[in-house]
Assembly symmetry: C2
């Protein structure tokens, strides 16, 4: 165990996140497109062929030799000969246009040989079965997409670590790529600690409360793209906790979240348990944020051991600030954090110097301001209701004494 010195000294959230450089991306797997939504490519994905595969019309109209239309106008239309129609899904190369000839074509159709542009049907007029007049000249390349104009063969289509969205999957389908290499979903063990906790479906004995953190953290892990492995409630007993942690790590898991027991109280075993596990390195105990100060981070090989605050509201802030970015790093994602927006403060929000504050806020849209207004959702420490009412976390910097009403501030949006 290293880093014993300065161990209980609070570090900044930036210093905390800096420790994630010590963790590596996890393994890869191939998944079909219908399982790839919101996953992250494990490598740059390149185009195996040109897209579109052929010179394609972007309009309904006539495939033409552009020069045949040069100089035409409403008053002096070009008279051109229709040699046929290019049906959809059939090669346009069956036609070769001689000067003065055109072929009817539909949006998405392949141009005829020698054709280099498309006249929109709106700028033409049918004179008889074989003849049209064209009122507006087209330049070569007009109303067409050339083969490979979207993606040349070998071009990078999607970068490693991007989030695969519906449109990205569509483009892969368009290129004939039906499986994609992605990073595996990190598996996250979840343990709630506390003699006062019972499972949510159990009867409450006096002095007991139901475990909230397992349910909340499991859903947070899913939202972050991981696989939750709920491991139940462990009593505040050193040997039991050590055993549970060692078994979890052996599953194996990529991260272990132990909530409760990370402050300095008499029964707070998390730190000593993490220290007792073979080959763990203690990285952090205490971060200059509020809530979330007593957060613990330890490392065993590539597994991250988190000690989270016991109250779900604090645990959630720590999850969003630290656990989610590390899970996204495990998954190879380039985009780690929550989406942030700018809001106007609806009232004065005081803060303490020396720690970053994450104030739960409710957002209201409306008024003249396009920007939403953020109102703090206060409540006694330990209450859950403010958590249900909040839309996100307003950030107040470490050296800021607070924000006045009407100031701009960044708000991390809770995913919904």
């Amino acid at each position: 165990m290293k880093n014993k010195k300065g161990f209980f000294q609070l570090i900044s959230s930036q210093e905390f996140i800096h420790f994630f450089d010590r963790f590596a991306e996890i393994d890869q797997e191939m998944v079909p497109l219908n399982e790839a939504l919101n996953r992250f490519p494990a490598q740059d994905i390149t185009s195996p062929e040109a897209l579109p595969p052929f010179l394609r019309s972007t309009m309904d109209g006539y495939a033409v030799r552009a020069r045949d239309t040069f100089g035409c106008s409403e008053s002096e239309p070009a008279l051109l000969t229709v040699v046929g129609e290019i049906p959809m899904g059939v090669s346009g190369r069956d036609f070769s246009l001689k000067p003065g000839q055109v072929a009817a074509i539909w949006t998405g159709g392949e141009l005829a040989e020698k054709a280099d542009a498309v006249v929109m049907v709106e700028y033409s007029n049918v004179l008889d079965d074989e003849t049209i007049e064209v009122f507006r000249a087209v330049a070569p390349g007009e109303n067409v997409i050339r083969a490979g104009e979207d993606f040349e063969k070998g071009a990078v289509v999607l970068h490693k670590g991007c989030t695969l969205r519906p449109q990205d999957l569509g483009v892969l389908a368009g290129l004939g790529i039906t499986k994609v290499p992605v990073f595996k979903k990190p598996v996250v063990g979840i343990i709630s600690t506390g003699d006062e906790l019972v499972e949510p479906d159990k009867e409450l004995a006096p002095g007991k409360i139901r475990d909230i953190n397992t349910t909340t953290l499991s859903a947070l892990v899913i939202e972050a793209g991981g696989i939750p492995l709920p491991l139940g409630i462990i009593n505040d007993d050193f040997a039991t906790m050590l055993d549970a942690c060692e078994k979890a790590i052996a599953r194996p898991v990529d991260a272990l979240l132990l909530s409760g027991g990370s402050s300095v109280g008499k029964r707070d075993f998390t730190l000593s348990v993490f220290k007792e596990i073979d080959d763990t390195e203690m990285l952090a105990h205490g971060v200059a944020i509020r809530p979330g100060k007593p957060t613990i981070l330890a490392q065993k090989n590539n597994c991250a051991l988190f000690g989270l605050p016991g109250h779900v509201a604090s645990a959630m802030v720590v999850f969003y600030l630290f656990v989610r970015p590390l899970l996204r790093k495990f998954s190879g994602a380039t985009d780690a954090g929550l989406r942030a927006i700018v809001a106007t403060t609806g009232e004065q929000i005081p803060s303490a110097i020396g720690r970053e504050e994450y104030v739960r806020v409710r957002l209201e849209q409306g008024g003249d301001n396009l920007q939403p207004t953020a109102y703090p959702v206060y409540g006694k420490s330990g209450l859950l209701k403010p958590l249900v009412a909040a839309d996100g976390l307003l950030m107040i910097a470490r050296d800021c004494e607070g924000l006045d009403k009407g100031e701009n501030a960044q708000v991390l949006l809770f995913p919904a």
Copy 2:
């Protein structure tokens, strides 16, 4: 079939959405909490019991009778007698405090009988095994949460139609609610039409391209909280399309998305196919938006039949503007649309009067401005690359000729 009059007249996007009043929420089901993330409660959820269930400490310290601390200070501490420790998970009611007595307590513990506040351990000092001094007075109710302070029995915890987030599921667990009534996920049939289309995993013959829309729309349906039912590629043939649509509706599906064939081209059968289906009512053909003008909406009982533009970029805009809100309505969600943020335009963006424009934009964060800057991602009609590069859709109102550089504008964010 009604509404024959004015049928090909463009309607506004608001008028289009107004038709959704004709559709009702779909059936309900009970799901366990671990399947309820991002679902929508089918009714208000009320608290079956008080939370917290007992008078709870929010700090480590001593449960006291507040009046015993009144008037104490650093110079004149109150001397109080420790009668024991309330272990976590055990009823504090085993102790009853006489005047001058306190009990050690941990965060989350139940207060002793007659105790009405908690002195934080930081404001106390241990003199001997039985005696502490207290330096700071506490008021009754300080550092405690009373039974039911979070939620009284019968209080509404979550409203019908809210999105169930991790923290909301946690609160339900805390109340002992382990199953929740939600609206079913709407089932959405997806048909791509076009003689030029082949499945993504097939070889390309000349003039053919791969189907992009089935993959994209399926993923969009999943993101919107629905269940996609991909029904393959149908050729541009009236009888085949009619048969495919009737079979899809009979599955049954809550919505059917037919992409391709909704403009006025010769092979555009969607409208006539929808009209031919028994008991359908045509609601809209043509919306004053760009892209997406040729969108069709028809209704058969509570099933919505959409004709979407053939190009994926346009189909996606129509999905986000119209299909997603209707799917969310089917699911009982109060929150229908995409998340919108305010961005500053990075360059001039022209627009045409008479239709709402949805301009694909890339967002850049940084500079002095907290607000992101939006740059249009232009590209020829029919190209896919701009779709991959874009982060969202910048909205330009119907009667606006465009935006200057540096103006504020609303951007609908693509989910990611």
